[in-house]
């Protein structure tokens, strides 16, 4: 390749108290390419991006943009140089309209005031380019997360960027939306833009990326053309050890857990107006029940009903044979039900509290305010789970917000395992988590299931649902349309079921 790289990062080092986040990391971007930045959680991808976008100042190393050394001191400065990023967590203003969000900070002006007409017109056009047709004058919060993510991307596309960074942009998108995004990216590529794409989805990496840079433990491991690096090689490079493909592709059918003959939780005609249509669902101890369905099919709604977050206005729930009312999470917890929510940041972690406090929170809540766990017992529980689940941290007293996504998820899992639940609802437990941590979490889930836990597993990755579930309840348009036993299920079956109901 004789083309000069548009951006070169070399010898980048950055350490935080107690952690060497980046050691001699490097990244090269050429115009008109999509470059996948791969690595496990905590490999330093996010830190590298933060250095590039001026959020963090590197301790050492140089960044060259078009041959010129640059050192962006803040996001604004980086943006002016043509480096724009879209983050995994949506950083937009939910109370502003979609159009305002797209143009915030650079509103086109008229003689007097802001040119609202142009804004709305252009915003609609930008979204239409991504094949999204919505009312741009409504507040952002009135749209689902996936649309919000697309708005964030549309916003990034409107800035005059040479380098566009997409950090886990697809974690809340369904397949159609991903395809639309990819179309847009291909257009941008043609225009000569360099795109950094961070994802944990291997399929997507191979669908869009031209080259791949792998980081591990903050170090640069290698840069490869996507066409010559096999999936297995990629995984092995990322993990740094051999992962058996068989175990990666293993189906849960081999699992011979002793399944209870009576359901632990049994819902009959459970539904809520504006939420789920009435459905029946039985959850057995020692069995993983998957919820299959597309985005918006009612997976999370089902979980929220079973955990007492949303109130059901029809139907009954029996727990362990007794009819109960679940009007609050507190009650659900009392019946031994646990719930890891999809939105880790806003509904899961208590960011400023320590890992220890986060882990014992649910246990303490169930014990009640006056049966306080002594600090020593808290530390013992925290240490036990940090060890058992392999949470990577220097110290249980560190704020949980400082952990990487996968480790936060493990800590949340620990929070619930500490309460010794009978049923565990996992809503997108592996979102935004690298492949090795994903496998670890799935292993943990299966191990807990074998110990007699009933598990309701929700994921937007159908292959993942198929891999762990003994039984899959298929949802479409907030309706349960059927169930498939694990050994009969493959993607074709499930999708045919979803599509078939339409015909």
């Amino acid at each position: 390749m004789t083309v000069e790289p548009i951006l070169v990062m070399q010898g980048i080092c950055k350490s935080f108290p107690g952690v060497n986040a980046l050691k001699n990391a490097q990244l090269r971007l050429f115009p008109g390419e999509v470059h996948a930045l791969m690595g496990q959680n905590g490999a330093g991808k996010s830190t590298l991006i933060k250095v590039l976008t001026g959020v963090e100042t590197p301790d050492a190393g140089e960044i060259r943009l078009n041959g010129q050394a640059i050192s962006p001191a803040c996001v604004g400065e980086a943006q002016k140089m043509g480096i724009t990023a879209v983050y995994q967590e949506i950083n937009l203003c939910p109370n502003l309209s979609v159009a305002e969000n797209i143009f915030i900070g650079r509103f086109p002006m008229r003689a007097i005031g802001i040119d609202w007409k142009t804004i709305e017109h252009q915003a609609a056009a930008e979204l239409a380019a991504l094949n999204i047709h919505i009312d741009v004058s409504l507040p952002l919060a009135s749209y689902p997360v996936a649309i919000q993510q697309m708005v964030a991307i549309a916003r990034a596309l409107t800035t005059e960027a040479q380098v566009l960074i997409l950090d886990e942009p697809t974690s809340s998108l369904d397949e159609g939306e991903v395809e639309r995004l990819f179309q847009a990216l291909r257009q941008l590529k043609q225009k000569g833009m360099a795109i950094v794409f961070i994802t944990h989805f291997l399929d997507q990496t191979y669908a869009i990326a031209d080259r791949i840079t792998v980081l591990r433990n903050g170090e640069f491991i290698g840069e490869y053309p996507a066409s010559t690096l096999s999936r297995l090689d990629l995984i092995n490079t990322m993990v740094g050890r051999e992962i058996n493909e068989a175990s990666y592709a293993a189906n849960s059918s081999a699992q011979a857990a002793s399944v209870a003959d009576k359901p632990y939780v049994s819902a009959r005609g459970l539904g809520s107006t504006g939420g789920m249509h009435p459905f029946d669902l039985d959850l057995y101890r020692g069995q993983v029940t998957g919820l299959g369905g597309l985005l918006g099919s009612g997976r999370t709604e089902t979980a929220r009903l079973l955990f007492g977050i949303d109130r059901a206005d029809s139907g009954t729930i029996r727990v362990d044979g007794h009819a109960v009312k679940l009007n609050s999470p507190r009650q659900a917890v009392r019946y031994g039900i646990a719930f890891c929510p999809e939105d880790r940041k806003n509904e899961g972690i208590v960011a400023d509290l320590s890992i220890r406090e986060n882990i014992i929170l649910a246990l303490q809540a169930r014990r009640g305010i006056f049966h306080y766990l002594p600090k020593r017992a808290q530390s013992a529980i925290a240490e036990q789970y940090i060890e058992q689940l392999g949470i990577r941290t220097s110290d249980a007293e560190k704020p949980i917000g400082q952990l990487s996504g996968g480790n936060q998820q493990k800590a949340l899992l620990a929070r619930w395992l500490a309460t010794d639940p009978k049923m565990l609802i996992l809503d997108e437990p592996t979102r935004g988590i690298d492949i090795a941590a994903k496998l670890e979490i799935m292993e943990l889930v299966k191990a807990q299931c074998k110990k007699g836990l009933a598990i309701l597993f929700i994921s937007s990755e159908m292959s993942e649902v198929l891999r762990v579930s003994d039984r899959i309840a298929v949802l479409r348009d907030r309706q349960k349309i059927g169930e498939i036993a694990g050994h009969d299920a493959d993607e074709q079956n499930v999708f045919r079921m979803i599509a078939g109901a339409e015909a």
Binding site: P329, V333, V350, D352, Q364, G368, I369
Partner: protein, 351 residues
């Protein structure tokens, strides 16, 4: 640039470091203008001195600031504490009232209703105020500042209704012990503060109250999803805050021997919020420090004292106070410190 020793830097990171430094500085200013600032003498078995005076006068503020800390930690605010003080003060003063009766040459003090009963009634009314706030915030989901604004506006009117528009004077001498009395040489009000502090520290460190309040303050949804009944917690926190205002009302009423519905506890809510902020608890909720709020209260009272001893004309003393508070808040601002630190570091590097 020389690096500060680690222990020193750790100390500077302690949440109570900056409030402590501020208080020490204010005390030094006081010593400069009044050499006998720290002098404590014993007069007729009681401790007397500027420091004792400051502590004694800060007692009502310390009490309210402690209650306010919990409210603020849950992301709330209670601007009705001043009005609650007025109501409670009116209740206790009207119920006790009292007169001096001389019978056969022996003076006896008689109250309208027994004093313990009057005190309980005043505290109960304060609690009721808090339950009302709690109901609006936790039950009806109103924004805390609006919910407590209602009582703030209505409260002084209610106090006037209780006292029938008069300033009620208390003549019953035993009641004065609360605000003016001494026990073993130390003002009684400080025992009350110490008792409330002890109860709070016990609740925060020996029960899960502290953990739950911080969780709810940092991430209410996650707290609820973990099985904490966030609403009940918030409800009782407002009730408790009003109760501390009720206790403060007893001290204030006893101290001035009367209840003035218009002026009792006037602007106390703002001083309390300021004390909490000076103590290092963020108005955004979450991590909180009761000891910090006590330091904050003492900062405010010491500042007031300093302004008087400086001989600042009374008409502009609020301006001076505001300037000092502004300065203190600037020092405590993370962002400013980071900016200054960066600047110093850069010049140090260049030199």
């Amino acid at each position: 640039m020389k690096r500060l020793p680690t222990t020193w830097r750790d100390l500077a990171r302690h949440p109570l470091f900056w409030p402590g430094v501020t208080l020490v500085l204010l005390c030094l200013v006081n010593v400069y203008f009044n050499r006998s600032f720290f002098a404590i003498e014993i007069k007729s078995g009681h401790l007397y001195g500027s420091v004792i005076d400051i502590l004694n006068r800060a007692a009502p503020l310390m009490l309210v600031a402690m209650g306010m800390t919990l409210v603020i930690a849950t992301r709330g605010i209670d601007i009705s504490v001043g009005a609650t003080v007025a109501i409670s003060g009116a209740v206790v003063a009207s119920l006790i009232g009292g007169s001096l009766i001389i019978q056969n040459g022996v003076q006896t003090y008689v109250s309208n209703v027994p004093m313990p009963l009057a005190i309980i009634a005043a505290l109960a009314v304060a609690l009721l105020c808090g339950l009302w706030n709690g109901l609006l915030v936790a039950g009806a989901g109103m924004q805390p500042i609006i919910a407590t604004l209602i009582l703030m506006v209505a409260g002084r009117g209610i106090a006037q209704l209780i006292t029938e528009g008069q300033i009620v004077t208390v003549y019953y001498e035993p009641f004065f012990i609360i605000g003016n009395g001494f026990l073993l040489g130390i003002p009684v009000s400080l025992y009350i503060v110490a008792l409330v502090l002890a109860i709070m520290l016990l609740l925060i460190h020996r029960t899960a109250l502290g953990l739950f309040i911080e969780s709810v303050g940092i991430n209410p949804v996650a707290a609820r999803f973990s099985g904490i009944s966030a609403r009940a917690l918030v409800f009782w926190v407002y009730a408790f805050c009003a109760l501390t205002a009720g206790i403060a009302a007893l001290i204030i009423t006893s101290n001035v021997k009367s209840a003035d519905g218009n002026n009792a506890g006037l602007l106390l809510e703002l001083d309390a919020i300021l004390a909490v902020t000076l103590g290092g608890t963020s108005l955004a909720g979450g991590r909180f420090s009761i000891m910090g709020s006590l330091l904050g209260s003492l900062i405010i009272q010491t500042l007031t004292y300093a302004i008087y001893s400086l001989g600042v004309p009374p008409e502009i003393n609020m301006v001076v106070k505001a300037l000092v508070v502004f300065g203190v808040c600037l020092i405590q601002s993370e962002a400013l410190r980071a900016m200054l630190g960066k600047h110093l570091f850069r010049t140090g590097e260049a030199a």
